[in-house]
């Protein structure tokens, strides 16, 4: 016979302000099976928990219902209290009378009645609870890092330096990410590649890191500690074992007119290519979409002829590599909007209206102009350059309400770089607000304005058009009484909005992690779990979560690495025992499962196995389903699918759910 204890929390006044808690406790005490009922100011406090522990012991309670906050808040707390009192922790249920009742309804009899209904529902459930025991699963102490930008590099190095294995997957032929494209970095103006490339090399040479470039994640199954990941190794057409990286192939490649991604489309590359001189690995791949051998059916073949080591192989195919990892760091980075996004600025048709990344390449010593700032249309030094902050960002009409965070700083940097290289040039910046909250950031912007004579104009630009070989930038100066301003410019740089990667959505769906409406990946909690995702074992690093600058990205990447190292610090993981089970009984029944295996078809985790039931002589009697508790995640889709209810979900069993419905609707008083 069940002896249930009901504990109603006031939560200070959060609950008691709208619910008559004494009445709920009193009426709950009269429910069938309830042996003890009480209300208390703060159930989650130490005295509150002691009250529960003492009541369980004194009244020989077999289960408890805590009428308080959401189970997502304090279920763990009260389960521990139940365990402390000597009963199985899974005989504790939460009745959510705060988030689902007192906080959303006014003080009324109806609200109190609803609270009682919620408590009664859980009393009926807990009567049907069973003792459950946490499941222990081993952990594969290898981490997968998706993305080889600065976020992925930092996370991989931190994890690898802690002594654990790391597998890094990068979709492009080289690691380095957007940071490798930058010229100088704010607020110190140190050269981006100078600080990045040593770290890239460190990744490549680290004994604990396995690097897969030109590779993507194909599928992810499994769960925290035990993920199985299929990695698609795209056909490189070059045998990296044989290739020495001499570069003869790309020097001789006749397909030379392919827009260079690394230079943001401002120069050309060949079909067989390494993205940039410091690429890691510094070995070429063939871009098959642009290679004559592949587009024109076996014509050309120059690179194979020229290669001194015979490393070129046109017949390689994509291969799938299956790996087992315990945790995944998602560091897939970001993209920016390009100038073709802006009808008011000419849809990107004018070559001298460029985006921030293109300016980075112009300013970079390794860029198409060797670091001289010359405009793309005719190669002349621009005498007047206009920089537009907030191009797209904070613009509801463009569907991008958020602040891209890095543009204020990099616009100041761009204006400074321009002034440092073209001393007589004039730099104008149109801005909405200057957001330079960071260590030494505001000082940096002041430097641009005060020392480098950059003209900051607070206002937006409505139109840019061409007139007599000049770009007419039509804006407004809102600090001078909304006076219209027109600047004749030679070049315009748009600080375009930071957006999620094109493939962010598909990556999120493969990883089963959530994302926001802008396709940035969602953290588990905006303040207290900014690194974790809602899928245990998967963490976020860098701008795939939201726009971030380099210091923030590196900090988050180290945090993601720390989360991984914490996970790897134990030998096994304790999991909630909310898993499905197939009933079993003694011979000759064995089980009511008929072996239809509909459960197997709907299971998203391949957790249903086939078990052969044999007699002593070894004759096959029947096939029955069996659940692999290590793989089962407890969704219960199989339970709803089962035709004769042979499979059930621990913690949310058929009997429990039915009891909840009946308990909820059948009011005894």
């Amino acid at each position: 016979m069940a002896r249930i204890g009901v504990f109603i929390c006031h939560c200070g006044e959060n609950i008691s302000a709208t619910i008559d808690v004494e009445k709920v406790a009193k009426l709950a005490g009269k429910l069938s099976g309830v042996a003890y009922s009480v209300d208390y100011k703060y159930m989650c406090s130490d005295p509150g928990q002691t009250l529960i522990v003492d009541a369980i012991k004194e009244h020989k309670l077999t289960g408890i219902v805590v009428g308080a906050c959401s189970p997502r808040m304090h279920e763990g707390t009260f389960r521990k209290a139940a365990e402390k009192a000597g009963i199985n922790p899974y005989f504790c249920e939460m009745a959510n009378i705060r988030e689902h009742c007192s906080w959303v309804h006014p003080k009324s009899d109806e609200t109190t009645r609803k609270a009682l209904d919620i408590v009664r529902t859980m009393v009926e459930k807990v009567k049907n609870n069973t003792a459950l025991f946490p499941i222990k699963v081993p952990i594969t102490k290898t981490a997968l890092v998706i993305g080889g930008g600065i976020a992925g590099i930092q996370a991989a190095l931190d994890i690898a330096n802690s002594g654990h294995q790391v597998i890094m997957v990068e979709k492009t032929p080289s690691i380095g990410g957007h940071m490798s494209q930058l010229s100088e970095t704010f607020p110190t103006l140190d050269c981006s590649q100078c600080i990045l490339t040593p770290r890239m090399v460190e990744v490549a040479q680290h004994p604990n890191i396995t690097l897969h470039t030109f590779a993507t994640v194909e599928s992810v199954t499994g769960f925290i500690g035990n993920f199985e990941v299929d990695i698609r190794l795209k056909a490189k057409s070059v045998d990296f074992e044989k290739c020495t990286g001499c570069g003869s192939c790309w020097q001789k490649c006749p397909s030379k007119k392919i827009p260079d991604e690394f230079n943001a489309g401002m120069s050309f590359r060949t079909a067989i290519y390494t993205p940039f001189p410091q690429a890691v690995p510094n070995k070429p791949v063939i871009d098959r979409a642009n290679c004559t051998w592949f587009t024109k059916g076996g014509k050309c073949g120059v690179c194979a002829k020229i290669c001194p080591t015979g490393a070129i192989d046109y017949n390689t195919e994509d291969t799938i590599l299956s790996v087992k990892v315990g945790s995944i760091v998602t560091a897939t980075g970001f993209d920016i909007k390009h100038s073709d996004f802006f009808p008011e600025y000419g849809y990107g048709k004018h070559p001298d209206i460029i985006d921030g990344l293109q300016f980075e390449r112009l300013a970079s010593a390794s860029g198409p102009t060797g670091g001289e700032i010359r405009r793309p249309s005719d190669g002349k030094e621009p005498e007047t350059v206009v920089f537009l902050a907030c191009a797209g960002s904070r613009d509801k009409a463009k569907g991008i309400e958020y602040c891209s965070k890095i543009c204020c700083m990099y616009t100041a940097k761009h204006a400074m770089l321009y002034k440092h290289k073209n001393h007589h040039g004039k730099a104008h910046v149109f801005y909405m607000d200057i957001r330079s909250a960071g260590k030494s950031y505001d000082e940096f912007v002041r430097r641009a304005i005060e020392e480098d004579d950059v003209n900051y104009i607070r206002g937006r630009v409505s139109k840019i058009y061409e007139k007599n070989g000049k770009l007419m930038v039509v804006g407004v100066d809102t600090l001078l009484g909304a006076k219209p301003v027109t600047i004749e410019a030679d070049m315009v740089v748009l600080a375009t909005a930071v957006v999620a990667n094109e493939d962010a959505e598909s990556v999120a769906q493969k990883l089963h992690i959530s994302y926001d409406k802008h396709k940035f990946f969602a953290e588990a909690h905006p303040k207290l779990k900014p690194v974790e995702t809602n899928t245990a074992g998967i963490t976020l690093a860098g701008a795939c979560q939201s726009a971030k600058d380099i210091p923030e990205t590196v900090a988050q990447a180290s945090a993601a690495a720390a989360k991984t190292i914490i996970l790897f610090s134990g030998s096994e993981l304790t999991r909630e025992p909310v898993v499905a089970t197939v009933n079993r009984s003694a011979a000759p029944v064995f089980t009511t499962c008929t072996g239809c295996f509909l459960c197997q078809e709907v299971c998203p985790y391949q957790a249903i196995e086939r078990e052969e039931i044999r007699d002593r002589a070894g004759n096959l009697l029947m096939n029955a389903a069996k659940v692999n508790a290590g793989l089962c995640q407890g969704c219960g889709t199989c339970v709803a699918m089962c035709r004769n209810k042979s499979i059930d979900l621990q913690g949310f069993s058929n009997q429990q759910m039915l009891s909840e419905v009946m308990g909820l609707l059948n009011e005894p008083f």
């Binding site: 959303v104 609803k114 809602n534 219960g636 339970v639 709803a640 949310f652 609707l665």
Partner: protein, 154 residues
């Protein structure tokens, strides 16, 4: 004067999206109608639709089934199974003449506290307009019971 009709609405929701969305409505203090009672499932894919029948048998006037948006299921595909099951179940109920407008099938994410409040208010209003669900209660079981007894007697 009889009290105005207040429907009983049972909500079958998943733990990860809609339950969390309802929690968010709570933490944001978004006010909504008191008529709804939530039953928490791990996933909408777990919901055995026979429980909906049980709820109506036992006095529910309206039902909400809600989980994660398509593609956002915590368990990858449970909400798709729920949606398929709902389509089949609804066509069966329609065939039997059951007033399926008493059941609302929806998606509410963990971020949509406001949508949850709106969903509850809209469903409450529509079920209130439909009036109490009495079709089941008005069924005359006496003949059935007699037939049962006679059958047992034979």
């Amino acid at each position: 004067m009889a009290e105005p009709f207040e429907p009983k609405i049972v909500a079958f929701v998943c733990n990860w999206c809609t339950y969390a969305g309802a929690d968010l409505a709570g933490t944001s203090r978004t006010k909504y109608e008191t008529n709804v009672r939530i039953i928490r499932f791990p996933c909408t894919g777990r919901i055995d639709f026979m429980l909906l029948i049980k709820a109506f048998q036992n006095g529910a006037d309206g039902i909400i089934v809600s989980g994660c948006h398509p593609n956002d299921c915590h368990y990858t595909s449970g909400n798709f199974h729920a949606r398929r099951r709902w389509i089949v179940f609804k066509s069966m109920l329609d065939f039997m003449g059951f007033p399926t407008e008493r059941i609302t099938f929806s998606w509410v994410s963990a971020a949509e506290g406001k949508k949850w409040a709106e969903l509850v208010n809209e469903t409450t209003d529509s079920v209130r307009a439909l009036g109490p669900f009495t079709e089941y209660k008005n069924l005359d079981f006496t003949t059935f019971n007699q037939m049962d007894h006679e059958a047992i007697a034979r």
